[in-house]
């Protein structure tokens, strides 16, 4: 993608201002988005983006500059801009570039770009038809398709050079169902570091039907009660809670700034002994997977909580140095226009040994959440709020009435200490996680799990 001598020249220029480390990240991205809304193909958008970013580090300082132009002159110009962003005596030199091999790759079996416009339209129509034919109450269906095929190049002043060819494909269905005055929504959005083999494991019709089922089920809902309840989270549906309420606070930049409730708590038992949480970038074809992270560290599986004990933070190069810990390969960026920062990849609560049905039967009065919605967390206190998109009352060990308008309110460490049952099942969800203005693909996975007590905010 880039010529070695151009890259060397840019790295030398990047270190001319006193930087201790320089890196060049270049990207060539082709991607398409297609939205089918209310039966209409609204937009088929295709794009080609190219660019390179030069990062210079010195102590705790970072300088970054990027350009859309990949000529030798433009790369050196960007490098000089970045070089001027740090202050100090120049002394570091670059070493010869050596090609690094990733520990794992995620090759696409079926190249998305082999599917032309009409083929993509057929995919989203299949999902739409399935959603519409599910029930007469289905009013609106939106299906969107996205793919990206990238060439990513990375080189740094320590001699790392690597190339990767990440491919991602995703299909999202959103359904609105209405009956009388009640309007409810459903959502399903599988995706992965895969090509169109995604549609073998997740046929578009199943995606559309799944979103419709959720919306239609909630039409019979009543306003959720408010108060403290035992809550059972369905497989995968509670992953976003672990991501937001525990994961973000375990990211090393937040820890390093003393803005995390998990700071200084490594080795401490925060969760119940049945609870183990990991972040795993190596999952084959996972939505948040990669071979190298976006600063060249190999993908790995990091244990965040081991049988309830807070273990490792997720870090990138810079924060690992600052905290005196190893990098865990969590340095990620949205694109060449962004600096890498510590991010989750695929974060999971590992399954336990309980029968999921038995977990529900164990609750006399509580709430079963099949799917949580978006959430928000204050990492300093661990306080969080999550909307619940599909939930039911549990009465006498049985799912009874669907409930709506509820949310879960609590704080991360307290909830970890109240996970008292884990199912032997497991499922994942995919999303785009936003942090510091950067969105990156992340996955969350959990078994069925029970939280002994948590505040449910409702209107009923």
């Amino acid at each position: 993608m880039l010529d070695d001598s151009d890259v060397r020249a840019a790295l030398v220029a990047a270190l001319s201002g006193g930087g201790e480390f320089a890196e060049l990240y270049a990207e060539d991205r082709r991607g398409r988005n297609l939205t089918l809304d209310d039966g209409k193909v609204e937009d088929l958008v295709s794009g080609h983006d190219v660019g390179a970013g030069v990062r210079v580090l010195r102590g705790r300082q970072t300088a970054y500059a990027y350009t859309n132009v990949l000529t030798r002159a433009a790369l050196i110009e960007a490098a000089k801009v970045a070089a001027a962003g740090v202050r100090g005596e120049g002394r570091v030199t670059t070493t010869d570039l050596r090609t690094a091999t990733p520990p794992v790759t995620h090759p696409a079996q079926i190249d998305p770009l082999d599917a032309d416009g009409p083929a993509l339209v057929a995919l989203v129509r299949e999902a739409e038809d399935a959603a519409r034919s599910f029930d007469a109450s289905v009013r609106q269906v939106t299906v969107s398709y996205a793919d990206s095929v990238r060439q990513v190049y990375l080189a740094n002043s320590e001699g790392h050079r690597s190339t990767q060819s990440p491919v991602r494909t995703r299909l999202v269905a959103q359904v609105v169902a209405a009956r009388d005055d009640v309007i409810q929504t459903g959502f399903e959005g599988p995706g992965g570091s895969v090509g169109h083999e995604l549609f073998t494991t997740h046929p578009p019709a199943g995606v559309g039907r799944g979103a419709a089922e959720q919306a239609v089920a909630m039409l019979d809902s009543i306003p959720a009660p408010a108060g403290e309840f035992a809550v059972v989270l369905g497989p995968g549906g509670g992953g976003v809670l672990f991501h937001e309420a525990c994961g973000h606070g375990m990211e090393a930049d937040i820890v390093g700034k003393d803005a995390s409730v998990y700071r200084g708590r490594r080795g401490e038992r925060l969760g119940t002994p049945i609870f183990t949480g990991v972040d795993d970038a190596t999952t084959p074809g996972g939505w948040g997977s990669f071979g190298f992270d976006d600063e060249g560290a190999p993908a790995q599986r990091t244990v965040l909580f081991d049988q309830g004990v807070c273990t490792d933070y997720m870090s990138d190069r810079l924060r690992a140095q600052q905290l005196g810990l190893p990098s865990t390969g969590n340095g990620r960026r949205q694109s060449y226009a962004h600096v890498p920062i510590p991010r989750m990849t695929n974060s999971y609560i590992l399954p336990g040994e309980d029968d999921p049905a038995e977990i529900v039967r164990s609750v006399q009065r509580g709430v079963y959440c099949r799917q949580l919605g978006g959430g928000q967390v204050d990492p300093a206190s661990g306080d969080f709020v999550f909307g619940i998109t599909e939930a039911y009352l549990i009465e006498g060990g049985e799912l009874t009435q669907a409930i709506r308008g509820a949310n879960l309110v609590g704080d991360g460490p307290t909830v970890l200490g109240r996970i008292d049952a884990l199912g032997n099942d497991f499922d994942t969800r995919q999303g785009i996680c936003g942090k510091d203005g950067q969105g990156v693909p992340v996955a969350f996975g959990t078994p069925t799990l029970r939280i002994s007590r948590i505040t449910v905010g409702g209107t009923g």
């Binding site: 300082q61 009409p118 929504t185 408010a226 204050d378 300093a380 709020v385 909307g387 505040t455 209107t459």
Partner: protein, 458 residues
């Protein structure tokens, strides 16, 4: 700090757009939109620059309209061959799109309006070192707040300077420059083992417009008041939303008041124009030409002149926001609210500068009027917890209790539940402290007093 354009950047971009528009085939409409902008972000931490980033983004997006079908393609590669390929790709994408007679390009027969106040020549003369100083001062001023402030999570200076240009086969042709600067700080505080965080910010056109001390003081004051919060007891209680909390709610209204949401049956306001939604002091305006608003621009993402649109006027629902497509569907005029999320996205529809018209009372008077209330300073989960279709919401909140008309003990892990219509009808007083905040779109709102909400807690 970054490559500076040699000549007037507006001329360069327009020349490039003209070349593409000239390549339109007979019977086909072509719209070309380009941006070229430079952003600088500086984060201070521990008394030094933690991150300095300088970014130049340049790209072109092409829409082709043929037989009622629209296709879009974009490129960051501005070489002639890449631009040709992009035009061809947009043409090809149009062939699979569903035809819709409301699809059309904006048209103009003359020059587009200008809004020169949104660019300041002085921006180019500002020394990068001055921007670095602002970030460092912001952090230092926040830390000077003393205990219980224990740190600063992020003290950031940012600015953006750029050119947007558009040209179409339908006579639209224009370019404008704009600039903005902002600083935002998040203070962390701790007392008795409990911690809290809160933001302070300042917005302007030039770095010299920014009130760094004010932003720091705001973060310190807000975080200090939140410390030691406990769950409130549940019950019906008036709620006072400070401008930060009110802006989060208005963000939900902003989406529901677009004609796009209305036409697709995704808005609780559909079919209700002319209905009384609230009291006479409830007026919600969108004004893309308001230069005090952070989103001010002379024309929108399709080249339609921006202007003032009353959405709720004296409590009565007056209308919706339109782009060219939604306007054509209803046989009305675009309100100039086509949005662009950069060159990689076709035009959408969103509010520009959306504000709630301020009243006469100062915020203290609202507290006195309420007597007992929950003074809400932060809402959490408003995008997941507020349903813009049904209007139901239940969101997390923190803030203070109001007792005997004054701020009392802090509150955390509260929930506020209600419905959007109930909230609008329950708006009983609007203060005079209008504040602009960047909540996705630019939102301006004063402190609000609402009745008929449910506060949830322990």
């Amino acid at each position: 700090m970054s490559a500076t354009p040699g000549t007037d950047p507006t001329d360069d971009l327009l020349a490039l757009l003209d070349r593409l528009v000239d390549r339109a085939q007979p019977g086909e409409g072509v719209e070309v939109y380009a941006v070229d902008e430079t952003e600088t972000t500086i984060k201070a931490y521990g008394g030094e620059v933690e991150t300095l980033s300088s970014a130049r983004t340049r790209g072109v997006g092409v829409r082709v309209l043929a037989d009622g079908r629209i296709g879009y393609a974009y490129t960051a590669d501005l070489a002639e061959s890449a631009l040709d390929e992009t035009l061809q790709q947009a043409r090809s994408n149009a062939t699979v799109a569903t035809p819709d007679e409301a699809n059309r390009l904006a048209s103009a027969d003359g020059s587009l309006p200008v809004l020169p106040q949104i660019y300041r020549e002085a921006f180019a003369d500002i020394d990068p070192a001055q921007k670095v100083d602002l970030a460092l001062q912001l952090e230092a001023a926040t830390l000077r707040g003393g205990a219980p402030v224990r740190g600063v999570d992020s003290a950031q200076y940012g600015d953006r300077e750029g050119t947007a240009a558009i040209a179409t086969t339908t006579g639209v042709r224009g370019a404008y420059r704009s600039c903005e600067a902002h600083c935002i700080v998040e203070a962390l505080a701790e007392a008795d083992g409990a911690s809290a965080s809160a933001y302070g910010l300042s917005l302007g056109r030039l770095p010299t417009d920014l009130d760094v001390e004010g932003a720091a003081a705001e973060a310190v004051e807000r975080v200090t008041g939140l410390l030691g919060g406990r769950k409130p007891s549940s019950g019906a209680l008036p709620v006072i939303l400070d401008p930060f909390a009110a802006a989060a709610f208005l963000g939900v209204l902003a989406g529901a008041l677009t004609a796009d949401a209305v036409q697709k049956g995704r808005s609780l306001f559909a079919g209700r124009v002319g209905e009384q939604l609230g009291g006479a002091y409830l007026s919600l305006i969108d004004d893309g030409r308001l230069i005090d608003g952070p989103a001010a621009a002379p024309w929108d993402g399709e080249g339609v002149p921006t202007g003032r649109t009353a959405l709720i006027d004296g409590g009565v629902l007056a209308g919706y926001l339109h782009n060219t497509y939604t306007a054509a569907k209803e046989g009305t005029q675009s309100t100039g609210n086509a949005s662009r999320a950069g060159f990689a996205s076709p035009p959408g529809l969103s509010a520009s500068n959306l504000y709630l018209v301020p009243g006469d009372a100062d915020p203290q008077a609202l507290l006195a009027q309420a007597g007992s209330a929950f003074y809400c300073q932060n809402v959490l989960g408003v995008h997941s917890g507020a349903n813009p279709i049904s209007g139901d919401f239940s969101v997390g909140a923190n803030g203070r209790m109001v007792r005997d008309g004054v701020l009392a003990e802090p509150v955390r892990e509260a929930t506020i539940a209600g419905t959007i219509p109930g909230m609008l009808a329950g708006l009983v007083a609007v203060a005079n402290d209008l504040r602009w905040l960047p909540f996705g779109v630019a939102i301006g709102t004063p402190t609000l007093l609402l009745e008929g909400m449910t506060l949830g807690g322990a």
